[in-house]
Amino acid sequence: MKCFRCQNQDPYLFYFDQGVYYCRKCIMFSRIDANTPVKKVTLKRKTISIQPHLKYELTPKQKEASTKVCQFLQEGKDVFLYACTGAGKTEITLESICLYLSKGKKVCFSISRRQVVLEIKERLQKIFPTLQIVAVAQGYTDIWDGDLIVCTMHQLYRYPYAFDLLILDEVDAFPYIGNDVLKEIANASCIGQKLYLSATPDPSLLKNVEIVTLFQRPHGHPLLIPKVICLPVFLQFMVLLYYLKKWKNKQSLIFVPTIQDTHILHFFLSFFISNKAIHSQITQKDQIIEDFHQKKFQCLISTTLLERGITIPDVCVLVFKGNHSVFNVSSLIQIFGRVGRSFLDPIGKGVILCDTQNESIKNCIKQLKQMNADA
């Protein structure tokens, strides 16, 4: 007995109903019977010759990485683009996207989080104004075919055997990492090559792929090495406030480990600074992020929800209770990757507040220093 969508063969994960067994492992993507082949989805295929409209030119290192990626893909190999945060991973994929579209092939850009899907869609739409780019995510599922598809990884179940180039961003993060079902669904949706992107790859992801690295940001400045301040929690509140007052001319992102902490900090800071809290259970996330982009308030308190993919120019970052187990190495690297992306403030500011320096904090700083050395 086998599920042809998630490749499940564990008898425990099948259940008998109405004369057939169905797979319970991938049931969240709709019910599929055991031993039933998944039907190929039919999408429009057009040959599109297009060039990206960028306001800036790619740096020589970005161009080199982009050419290498294209070469490997043309050789039919899967590629892993291992680049530091803010190195311009999305821009490096543009040449490959154009190449595939010019051959009438289907391309999909898949990302783990919904907010990032919407942001990348906007960015790509500005770069390719004539392309019909569709975002497919929760709440955006009415139109799901276009010249270029940007979707969450969960939405890939809609596209069995559909894509010639599947770009998977942030593959080291939840929900892709360690999720066999998503991995199989991504595999099933791709009939050509896969291009993985990450700043903090898991060693298991680097097997059977060609690796292209880039550890230099476009402005050429090194990555920020955050300042670590060890304090009891009640003093962390005071130091946090001190830094927010010190950086009052800039917007700040505060990362906290739990939803409850967002409420506590929001209450505490509302006496001093304009702020809002965001976490997975808030319904008007898009509006809050939009307001933050428009600088309607100074400080945004977030769980790890915003650790990846979000680009806010000229932002300072603080991590509260930084030694909490939620903040692992890749999470911290991603968080401080939000800093120093702007050409106006290429260095930025970042602080980790913690009880004690744990292994994650030490390794984060070690890896950031290593990336700066390799750049």
Binding site: P11, F16, Y21, Y22, M28
Partner: protein
């Protein structure tokens, strides 16, 4: 068909391991934990047990869970994604409570529309109460889903009682899985005059509305 099913199930038993796993998340059961529950502690923690009854319109309405995102997803998986293996998890370890409330009653369930029933291949409320004798004396005239209906108060035009459906002359316990605004269950109460109502889950806003009524724990 019955024999084919038996053969299938015999074959299945030969390959299926007899380890216990959580019916929701499929996590393996900890070796040192003996528990008759069907779901792991992690999934149990995500269900908000309410266990309160409200005296409303001369009827006690028993509410087992508070409706939350987890339960919403679980019911979606059960009803819309047709994961019928989940049917025992809803009453799970509260069967004894349900039995004590409805021991002198006949069990009637709120209905689904014919279209939903055809699409699903089962009636969710009947399946949840599979181990009991259940009656379904109501029907929906059309396929309006209450959660997406902007005119929820017009439910009396949608749900009606079946004409040729006799019920034993006993007190009625009316069962429904979700109560959001209360319109559906009130329509059921109008039609059947139940002695008690048992709701698997109720929306926090409905619970808040009921907070002014007489209430008890069960």
């Amino acid at each position: 068909m019955r024999y084919t099913k038996r053969i299938y199930q015999k074959l299945y038993q030969t390959i299926k391991t007899d380890e216990r796993r959580c019916l929701i998340c499929n996590a393996c059961w900890p070796e040192n934990l003996w528990d008759s529950s069907l779901i792991c502690t992690n999934c149990q923690d995500q269900l908000i047990v309410h266990r309160k009854a409200y005296y409303y319109r001369n009827t006690w309405i028993y509410v087992l869970y508070e409706y939350n995102e987890f339960l919403e997803r679980l019911l979606f998986r059960f009803k819309d994604q047709k994961d019928i293996a989940l049917y025992p998890v809803f009453l799970n370890s509260y069967h004894h409570l349900f039995q004590s409330i409805g021991k002198k009653h006949i069990l009637c369930v709120m209905c689904s529309s014919e279209e939903s029933r055809m699409k699903r291949g089962f009636e969710p409320n009947v399946l949840i109460l599979q181990s009991y004798k259940v009656y379904s004396p109501l029907y929906k005239k059309n396929n309006i889903k209450q959660s997406s209906n902007p005119h929820r108060e017009n439910i009396h035009q949608v749900i009606d009682r079946k004409k040729l459906y006799a019920l034993p002359h006993q007190k009625i316990l009316l069962f429904d899985d979700v109560c959001t605004t209360g319109n559906t269950i009130e329509r059921g109460m109008d039609l059947l005059q139940p002695d008690v109502v048992f709701l698997l889950s109720a929306h926090p806003l409905w619970i808040e509305r009921m907070s002014m009524e007489k209430q008890k724990r069960f």
